[in-house]
Amino acid sequence: MILDFQMNNLTTVEALEKGLWRITQRSDDNLFSIEVTLDVKGPALDIRRAVLDVKRDVLGLASDLTPLSEKLVGVRVGPGMTKIVRGVIGGPDGSNRAAELVLEAMEMLVNSITVPELRKAAAMAGVPYRAEDDGPKVFVNDVVIEDDMVRKMAGNPRLKDSCAAFRDL
């Protein structure tokens, strides 16, 4: 069957210099297109620059998000960000859609920072793995981090309760 609606979303995290990241998220569907750009500085992981640029709005419902995006400057990527971002960007005078995209962009920075730790753990304590519904010709997932290391990693405040795999350990 031919599709009659598509949504595509690409988020990239780029290191501009040591401790300074640019997160760019472009979301497109048949009705709406927006690009979110956040510059975030470590070690506090606070937003230094935020741009919310509506590229296409078929329904003509989007308001100018520039004044709201300026309020994101100073918001930190970390605990409490969901409530703050929804309060600043979302609501009846804002854009709930943009708020969710900003939060997703912020979460991708967290993922980005976590990758080296997971990569190290997989190298140190990776065990061969074949999922039941993987293959039969090509196996996408060949190694997973073994349970003892997962328990150990769950002690890391950044990973603890970050997802179901690191919860209740």
Partner: protein, 149 residues
């Protein structure tokens, strides 16, 4: 230098009068997964959920699969995001939950886009705000859900 990249792609199709099907894929450095959801229309009820965890980090991740079908029987309304994030994200996989949220919202937006396209063919200078209001009156459960702006 690029440090992380996530791509999500969602497609919606209409299968006859009373069924809508959405398929979604998510791929980034850490995870790769896919889901397909069929929804009864216009009751907006999720009929079936089919998922595949393709690439993940721990042996605990694929156990989440048992949780994903909890969404079968749920309705698309303003409560759905919270239910998916709480039930499926918390006890299954938060990345699959995000993909499922995107899929369900795209499915509902597709209906509006489909109707808008048809309406514009008949009335090129259609008042789009009135059109959206009319759509919400016909599908009141979608009023707080679509996030059109």
């Amino acid at each position: 230098m690029l440090e992380y990249s996530r791509c999500k792609s969602v497609g919606v199709q209409r299968q006859g009068e009373d069924r809508r099907v959405v398929s979604g894929v998510l791929e980034d450095e850490l995870y790769a997964m896919a889901c397909e959801i069929s929804v009864d229309w216009p009751s907006l009820t999720i009929e079936s959920v089919q998922t595949r965890m393709k690439r993940f980090t721990t042996g605990r991740c694929p156990r989440a699969k048992d949780v994903f079908t909890r969404a079968e029987g749920w309705k698309i309304d303003s409560e759905l995001d919270g239910k998916i994030k709480k039930e499926i994200g918390r006890y299954g996989c938060r990345h699959m939950a995000i993909l499922m949220v995107d899929c369900c919202r795209a499915l509902a937006r597709a209906e509006l886009a489909r109707e808008l396209k048809a309406a514009l063919e008949n009335t090129p200078d259609l008042d789009r705000r009135s059109f959206v209001e009319d759509f919400h009156q016909r599908y009141p459960d979608l009023r707080g859900y679509l996030q059109l702006r």
